[in-house]
Symmetry: C2
Subunit: 106 residues, 2 copies
């Protein structure tokens, strides 16, 4: 699950989180959010990893601020964000960053 | 392993990678790199997660371009980068991004 590099500039939304022990549909909603994000205008890609201790990082890539704002405001996504704060995440960090240069292999 | 939010702007180095099956000291060198990074001028923090399929994301946070450049050029780190390309990573993506805004809980 590795996103293409694209030519910068574009935006990265870096979401790191520590899960609670609660399930309550987390896996299903999480998959649905990836599916829904991929349908949004300006979506470029997403990368995600969560370790055995429940610490995870998801980075989604977007064309511009308008596409980040539209995704944040999406009603189904907003409902999932509330569930995340109330139920699934013990702690999280969200950082919006402008990608300036890229490099890679494979 | 969650980094403090700090006041933007600062830089995020987003490193996503798919591991090979090769070990050859990976865990030891990986831990050493976190320890060494934390000693560099301008280091702000690091977050890292790798899943059971060997896909991982590490995001390190830096004060400015000078500190990112100095860390990239560190001799012990440069040797580890070569081992990574030759042995440990099947594929990777490296993105340098300027953090513009932050948000969090917990």
């Amino acid at each position: 699950m590795m996103a293409a590099l694209f030519d910068p500039p574009y935006l990265a939304v870096i979401f790191s989180s520590q899960r609670t022990e609660e399930d309550r549909g987390y896996g299903r909603v999480s998959e649905r959010m990836v599916e829904l994000a991929a349908q949004q205008p300006g979506f470029l890609g997403v990368e995600s990893a969560r370790d055995a201790e429940g610490f995870g990082i998801t980075v989604s890539y977007w064309k511009d601020e308008a596409s980040v704002a539209a995704w944040k405001a999406d009603l189904e996504h907003a409902a999932a964000q509330r569930l995340g704060k109330d139920t699934w995440y013990r702690a999280f960090r969200l950082r919006v960053a402008k990608v300036e240069r890229v490099n890679g292999m494979g």
